[in-house]
Symmetry: C2
Subunit: 333 residues, 2 copies
DNA sequence: TACAGTCCTGTAAGCGCTTCCAATTTCGCC
DNA sequence: GGCGAAATTGGAAGCGCTTACAGGACTGTA
């Protein structure tokens, strides 16, 4: 439709200055006279000039873009608002900068290749890596690339240098302490995978709270965060520890499964058995009874990851961050 | 960490050919001897060469990136899986190309400015515009920019040249026909905003179905797609048309509100009054009773928008697309 | 053998910008 | 008024790549 967009040279010419000066103005560098600045600003205005990103990036060796990579295809990530919330948080910070946001779904092989290439060719100024698998080769690649990388969450195999994580351990402890606070004594747990950082830490939080209260932490079933495993775990717990009066479940999906089993077995929740979940997904509000659970600060995660990345890009050295979780008390405990 | 990534010149040198030839190889252009091709490919391999996007884009006048812009901050968009699904669809197609995906949340003023600048500076090869407001100035800007633009959904004020939309009218008609099919005769509707394309078209679908069946379409309450307005609408309908035996509600959120009112008023669903919603959001599975509703093909929307955009970028002239919706029958009708 | 046509290749001119350098101007102060 | 320092400027060299263009090597045919 319209013609080629105006170039810096044209702006400079119109303003009666050199390209160098024009460039200084639009990057508001110092050493520019008020007169020159105004002339250039006027020309920019009149011409509707917008800098060409490619030219700038080639000359400056900066890309003007960061990537948000989600490297898991765990349906659970997509089955709730995780996505929307992270992006909302990321976007809020991005908007304050003049960086662009690139999105890479690095779950598939192609997606992972893509991310690898971005890293290798340094075609982004920074990368946020979310939901990395354990022992993910991308992690090493990211390290070696020389591109600033912020991780969302941690893995067991190695703690990244810069990360933002939710306080899974603290959240779990808080949940269990709540159960203790309302008088429960025989508190079980259904864990997530114990080869995942979240799985381990929520379990540790459970044990910690019980240890502090001098209660037994021996009522344990292991699950995989999925609903079916929650049901199975609950069944096992009821069989092995018929006396239990509360259960801390390491995910809402498993908690939903557990509630189903409890209902089938005729155990009243929370009267007979109190239940607390983890994550605060949408469906937690729709279980019967409504699920008391630990809310994850997803949006804040996105926000803080981005802040950290921006700092890193600016040459600062931020410290890792662990974000507090919050217990949302509903009806199940 | 590592040094500057290798350049094309270095690859060419190592392969013993000129940069021109090396460039032809990595863009697999024609007129390259098998020998030269192999030599370059080997050098690329050995050096771990990845083309520099900025250089390429500057020289080729192509950006290698498209943007997905979501220009509404309607909480409903974020309150369900809309986001995740669209992006999944978009990503699936993007992965088959070598385009990058840039995300712009253009709800805020800053976001809109950003998008405007991208359009003006042609810093993307194409744009997907989702959830544009009525009379949105971005729409005109996009047209004039000379950048290929695909719209998701339509607006009343103007039909974009290239768009993908869900068949709101057909979906509504299908929903109402279902109600007729199960023997309902006095079918009401709660509409969405009638200054929105979706609002109008779902309403038209309702009227169409009734007209075809020779039934009255006079039982109408107007809402705004939100839950509260659904409750209000239902209340009004019950007062004005106590004889109604079914209601087609233009969104699941409003349907949830309507169900609540029906419950309070002691009307059994679906026995006394059948209810059909629209959108098939997650919560539709958790209402009491579970909501029969029209499912929107969100992922397909993302996919088809992207396909269309890619065609446009390749110089083809695709035709607009209207995607079929699907009635999901649960318990409320 | 000569000649037109094809293929292949190297050369070099930018794409639009930043930034270094050196030249020029201005300023503060004795 | 004169001096050094600081501020401001223009010029030009790239950043890494694509893409005419022109020339050289080959092919097939007469």
């Amino acid at each position: 439709m319209s013609n080629r967009p105006p170039t810096l040279d044209e702006v400079a010419q119109r303003a009666g200055v050199s390209t160098g000066t024009a460039s200084r103005v639009i990057n508001n560098a110092q050493h520019v006279s008020k007169k020159a600045r105004q002339a250039v600003e006027r020309a920019v205005e009149e011409l509707g000039y917008v800098p060409n990103v490619a030219g700038r990036s080639l000359a400056s060796q900066r890309r003007g873009a960061v990537v948000l990579a989600i490297s898991s295809d765990d349906p659970a990530l997509f089955a709730n608002l995780f996505f929307a919330e992270v992006i909302t948080g990321v976007n809020a910070v991005i908007e304050e900068t003049d960086l662009q946001l690139m999105l890479v779904l690095a779950a598939s092989e192609r997606g992972r290749d893509r991310l690898a290439r971005i890293l290798q060719s340094r075609s982004a100024d920074g990368v946020m890596l979310l939901a990395l698998r354990e022992n993910d080769p991308l992690s090493k690649l990211a390290d070696e690339s020389g591109v600033p990388v912020v991780h969302g969450g941690r893995s067991l195999d190695r703690t990244p240098q810069w990360y933002v994580d939710a306080d899974n351990r603290g959240g779990a402890r808080q949940a269990v302490e709540h159960l203790i606070g309302v008088g429960r004594q025989r508190i079980a747990t259904i864990t997530g995978q114990l080869d995942l950082h979240v799985g381990v830490n929520r379990y540790l939080g459970y044990r910690e709270a019980l240890a502090l209260a001098g209660l037994s932490d021996a009522r344990v079933a292991h699950g995989d965060f999925g609903e079916a495993s929650g049901a199975a775990g609950m069944t096992r717990l009821l069989d092995e520890h018929p006396d239990l009066d509360a259960v801390f479940v390491a995910s809402d999906a498993m908690a939903a499964g557990a509630l189903r089993v409890l209902h089938e077995r005729g155990r009243a929740v929370p009267e007979d058995i109190a239940v607390v979940g983890f994550n605060d997904v949408v469906t937690a509000q729709h279980t019967q009874p409504r699920l008391t659970t630990v809310h994850q600060p997803i949006e804040a995660l996105g926000r803080e990851m981005t802040r950290m990345l921006v700092r890193l890009i600016n040459g600062e050295r931020p410290t890792p961050l662990i974000l507090p979780t919050e217990l949302v008390i509903r009806d199940s405990a």
